[in-house]
């Protein structure tokens, strides 16, 4: 595994520029955060197709739906907290209900936003977007996958939401690894027999680190990168439950409503008996702090993933 650090936000900006060349109807909207979301790269290259909408997110979402109704492929970006909760009704009516071809790409998702504090740490976005009919929901795990997902979003019709974190992240994939990646089909990153750890977004790296540590204790963990939260890969979850008999989910999100809930719903409805635990933010607002300190305090780092896994397997 390569440990080269690349920021997924940069990957987003660069991919937009590439796609802009290919799709003359691709347009980008931002709400005064283009330097942070990296849509500024697109703005510089294609100023006539970039719309600065000011700090007015509600209008931005509905306007994107209007653009989509004229055959545009609008990518809308801001921080995850403003891209979902703040504009839930606009997304519900103008994007999801209307089945509009609007692509919401949020950055600064999760608690790794760090020092800005809980006001900016979005831990409910996957839940909010997942509950909307018609909506596809992604949480890419590294820069390479971000690029792939942005391409899939541009080239697949329908309302879509994706979120990445603020921080640089180690590269997990090379471009050719994801050549055949499909929406709604999770990736088995590492094989293993004792437990399946199903993770999404930033947590995939942490569970990969935890896997190395678990191996030393003689535990072989299968690592699933569930980049699409909705539609969830039901077949893969069933397969993991049957083959490993234990599932741990890991997400930089509330344990309520996100990836863990989606997996739990499948396990319960399919009547699969399987040891199961959700790792995430435990129904609490976090606080300001360095990302590493937050991950330690709120038990999301590799050390805690190891602990949680061992405890689950001892049950």
């Amino acid at each position: 595994m390569s440990k080269e650090m690349v920021n997924p936000r940069n990957a987003y900006g660069e991919t937009l520029v590439e796609l802009g060349k290919k799709h003359s109807n691709l347009v980008v909207l931002d709400a005064d955060l283009s330097k942070s979301t990296k849509t500024i790269m697109f703005a510089k290259k294609y100023p006539e197709r970039f719309f600065e909408m000011g700090i007015a997110e509600a209008n931005m979402i509905s306007a994107a739906a209007g653009l989509a109704s004229c055959g545009k492929i609008p990518f809308v970006s801001t921080f995850a907290v403003f891209a979902t909760g703040r504009v839930y009704d606009q997304i519900r009516m103008d994007v999801a209900y209307s089945n509009a071809n609007v692509k919401i790409f949020a950055t600064h998702g999760g608690i790794s936003v760090g020092k800005d504090g809980a006001s900016h740490q979005m831990i409910e976005d996957l839940a909010l977007m997942r509950v909307l009919p018609n909506m596809t929901v992604f949480a890419p795990s590294d820069a390479t996958q971000t690029k792939k997902i942005v391409q899939l979003m541009a080239e697949t019709k329908g309302p879509m939401y994706a979120r990445v974190g603020r921080a640089d992240a180690p590269l997990i994939y090379k471009t050719e690894d994801l050549k055949d990646m499909k929406i709604g089909r999770g990736l088995t990153v590492k094989d293993g027999d004792d437990i399946s750890i199903i993770a999404c977004g930033t947590m995939v790296n942490h569970v990969l680190d935890a896997r190395e540590k678990l191996l030393k204790d003689g535990i072989s963990a299968r690592i699933i990168d569930m980049h699409t939260i909705k539609p969830i890969d039901t077949d893969l979850i069933i397969k993991c439950a049957k083959e490993t008999g234990a599932i741990l989910t890991a997400e930089e999100h509330s344990v309520i409503g996100g990836l863990g809930s989606a997996v739990a719903e499948i396990l319960a409805e399919k009547g699969l008996t399987c040891r199961f635990k959700r790792l995430g933010v435990n129904d609490i607002f976090c606080e300001s702090g360095a990302p590493a300190d937050l991950f330690e305090k709120y038990k999301l780092n590799a050390k805690h993933i190891v602990k949680t896994t061992s405890a689950l397997l001892e049950q």
């Binding site: 007015a56 509600a58 509905s62 306007a63 209007g66 653009l67 109704s69 009704d89």
Partner: protein
């Protein structure tokens, strides 16, 4: 009840008929000064009565819906679809079409009746408003009602949606215009002012908003619920070109629409001074008919009023 609304109605009546209009004096007429063909006006007036008839029939049949704001909106929507707009019911997806967004989605019956009479779908569908398995949902839905551009019903979205259409039109150098009707109560919503700022910033002169200024919202008079005046100054200060007209006078509506299309570098707001419940005597300026359909007696009474009015209009033509 409705005394305050009566006051404003009278105020605008006086303003209209005395020939003294404050904003007119300040801003000049600026219109075409060419009166529209009387036959055209008469034709549209007759269509407006027929649309009102549909609306009341639909609401009576559905036993739910919003008569007051549907009736006040009729004349402007009729003027748009039956005369002013460049649209073709046979080509509802034409990329060059003019668009109309009903941001005050609760006036859906009016939009549906107009679309059906224009030929976007069968008039028979109107009988199935709000019924199970009907295409005609309680509020407009874009993806399965032919001719409906945007899904509305949650207030405050339509102007933003229209911004998107106008931005696309500018980007593609299209000649189409986009028209959006807002309720006056609807402009309580903060999103409206986000959209007002953005439309002005981007100089969206291909965008025209029409404000159904009927002075009533569910909890009462707009000025008691959450003061809106001066509506003219608000929009003007946001950088909009503003016109204020009688929203039931087809001649004035057509003239204002043409002027809005001709106006460059600014979006236009046409304040339509209207009467909630217009066309049915006992519904006029009566906020109780905001969201309550007519009962059988009221239905029959309304129908007889429409019949009388139609006869009068048809005799005159």
């Amino acid at each position: 009840m409705g005394n305050r609304a009566d006051f404003y109605t009278n105020y605008f009546y006086i303003k209209k008929h005395s020939g003294v209009c404050f904003h007119l004096l300040i801003n000049g007429w600026g219109g075409t000064l060419k009166p529209y063909d009387e036959e055209v006006i008469k034709k549209l007036d007759i269509i407006a009565v027929k649309i009102r008839r549909h609306v009341i029939e639909m609401l009576y049949r559905a036993k739910s819906g919003h008569p007051g704001g549907s009736l006040s909106a009729v004349d402007a929507i009729v003027a748009l679809y039956f005369h002013h707009m460049n649209d073709n019911p046979k080509k509802p997806e034409d990329p060059d079409r003019d668009r109309f967004i009903l941001s005050k989605g609760h006036a859906a019956p009016t939009l549906y009746a107009v679309l059906a009479e224009c030929g976007y779908f069968d008039v028979k569908e109107l009988k199935r408003l709000r019924e199970i398995n009907s295409i005609l949902q309680g509020h407009p839905v874009s993806f399965h009602i032919p001719g409906v551009e945007a899904s509305t019903g949650s207030l405050g979205h339509g102007l933003s949606f229209a911004n998107g259409i106008a931005l696309a039109g500018k980007a593609d150098k299209k000649k189409y215009n986009v028209y959006v009707m807002l309720g006056d109560g609807e402009t309580d919503e903060g999103q409206i002012w986000e959209a007002a700022a953005v439309a002005s910033h981007y100089r969206l002169d291909n965008l025209t908003a029409l404000l159904d200024r009927n002075f009533l919202q569910i909890d009462g008079n707009t000025e008691d619920v959450l003061r809106l005046e001066s509506v003219y100054d608000r929009w003007s200060s946001f950088g909009w070109h503003v016109r204020e007209i009688d929203g039931h006078d087809i001649d004035q509506i057509l003239d204002a629409l043409q002027m809005a299309d001709d106006h460059k570098n600014q979006p236009t707001m046409i304040i339509l001074n209207t009467v909630k419940g217009k066309g049915v005597s006992f519904m006029e300026n009566n906020v109780d008919f905001h969201g309550v359909p007519p009962n059988e007696m009221e239905y029959k009474l309304a129908m007889s009023e429409f019949d009388m009015l139609l006869r009068k209009l048809e005799e005159a033509s």
